[in-house]
Amino acid sequence: MYINTCSFVRGCLDLVLKKRYQFLDGFVSGSTCDCPRRLTDVWQHYDFTPFVYILDVPRKMTQAAHALYREEVQGLKKRIEESFGLHISDEALRRSIETYNRTRTLLKKLYELRKSDCPPVTGAEVLEVLDAGFKMPREEFNRVLERLVDEAGKGERTVPARFRLMISGSPLNNPEFIRGIEELGGLVVVDELCTGVRHWWDLVDESPGVDPVEALSRRYLNNFPCPRMYPPEERFDRAVQLVREYRVDGVISEVVRYCVHCAHDQPLLKRTLEGEGVPVLELSLEYGASGTGQIRTRVQAFLEMLEARSGR
């Protein structure tokens, strides 16, 4: 990959080259943006795993787009079955959907608690939880998450929020980045991230009689929109909805360098949010970066501006 490949994707390749993915039998990617598409090419070219598959993901959320995406998901299922000698039954898919929906429901409960004046968890802690969800077996993660939601809901712990912040933008997995912001006096009460609400927010339809592949493809195409989707207003509207529901004072918009989708959306999203009376701090950073001195200075200035605005 080249310097203009986003650092998230270069980070993925780095792990492959360091042989951290030796346990993998295959790699599946969506045609989401230039960098993962080319990562798939590199993966295939250098034969990192025997199975490599990329499925087309339309950029629109129309009926025609859904029909295409459904066939793509069906195609992926078929290829997995053929390549690994498996049969993926509808029953197994339904069980899996149920498990993952359980995660989404629990996360929704956790996020609901963050709407209170003094939430029980910090933004950094929530990101740690989300990170765990990417790594742990899902059933085990659900059990731990259930305990966390129960405990958090008892109201025994509260985190005072001087300013309620939303963090928005590219993939973010480093809790230290958010911790750095929160140490300065802001509390991240909600996110609008690839690795946050945009990943888990909407449920898959579990209604009896609904074909599971149909349900999955509908959900993944119509989910909380990624910046790659058209029209961008779908994403902006949902971001504004979050800002209102979580009573956000300011938004920190982080764009991983060369995350072109986010970069293009950035000025339009900023204007939309500022139209709602919510100031936006824009940060351009590398994936995995924590709060460097420069970022801390800018966040500090942003919080001071919020303070001046609020007259606190």
């Binding site: 960098c35 295939q44 339309p58 950029r59 058209y230 072109v260």
Partner: protein
Amino acid sequence: MTTTVADTAKLRQIVEVVDAVAKLQRQRLEREPDAVNYQIVVRYFNNVLTAKEEGKLVVAHTPMIAPEILFAMDIVPLQLEFAATLAAQIIPGIQECFSTAATAGLAPEICSAQRLIAGQAIQRWLPRPDALIWSNQVCDNTAKGGNLLAEVFDCPSFFLDRPYQFSERGVHYFTEQLKELIRFLENLTGRRMDWDRFSEVMEYSRRLQDLHREIRELRKAVPCPWRNLWFIHMQGTEMYWAGSPEAIAHLEAIRDAARQKVTEGKGYVPVERFRILTIFVPPTSGWAMMGWMQGKHGAVCVAEPYFSFRDGEAIDPAKPLQSLARKCFYCPICGPMHGPASEGIVRDTVRDAVDYKAEGAVCFASIGCRQTDACIRMLKESLQEKAGIPMLVLDNDTYDPTYVPEDQLRDKLDEFFELLEGRK
């Protein structure tokens, strides 16, 4: 329906300069293809300038929106990247456009083509179109750049979504997308698509594709009958004039000139010393470098894998819509850039290296082009292993000449040709 043209002064300036260049080229017999190229450039922009008085609509579009549909509907196309390229070469003030784009919030990592187009649009360098069409062909920048442009131009807009890889279901989806685009244009113009006219346009497109392949065959000759700059002219014509008699005239002029050289057993330069593959495009401020390579080093660009109608089907004018949809999956740039590399650009580059007896490759690695650059290592290694030739990577920015001075690019090319000389 409106045909408001806000500001045509800069466009007129472009037309004047290009027209003067066309006249100069006309005086040199061996430059006939160049003269035709510049003439049709002039005609292209004159069409935009006269659209209003002729009661025609101007529709702006990003690269790789097939202009055939617009020609079939008697709409005047304005390909924004092409216009931006010429404007940047002719009219001073490119850095101001970048500054304007930055002020509008576009980050420096966004490809300079998109920042330039946005800057020019905000500064009203180009006339305000009656509508805007853009697409994810060929990258994320083209997919996203239209949102801001639609706002700046404040006109009706349409986003065309092309699946990433070729499949029958993908072709079906894209055909439906084209139908939607036609409905959008029908609403805009108040006229229905003339399907017979569309078939005629696609017949021109078919002939253009045949000419392209014929020219590619002629370029296999040793010595090669090719003037390096022709590839830039030719890919421009194929992008903005496809489906027109003008495009046919241009490619026929190139074909005839190349065929004459081949018949005579001559190359374009008296002594051909190096046969080079060109990967991606040279910076717009450095097009003269292509001639310099040929003049100083006898280096002839024999093929450009990103800009080739290689495989793919023949266009069937009787099925204009389906043919156009399919063409968008394999035509130059669209196919190799917006599609998997293993069955696209990597495979084609190695094949071209062998078929055209290339001795080296020059890759113009524009900092804004994430798709091209991510393939560099695969291309370099594949060319070395499978064709036994080295590849030079020239970091640059396609539109921003301040990124790397042209002198540095020429120095690196000098060194590369020394290396190639040493390998002989």
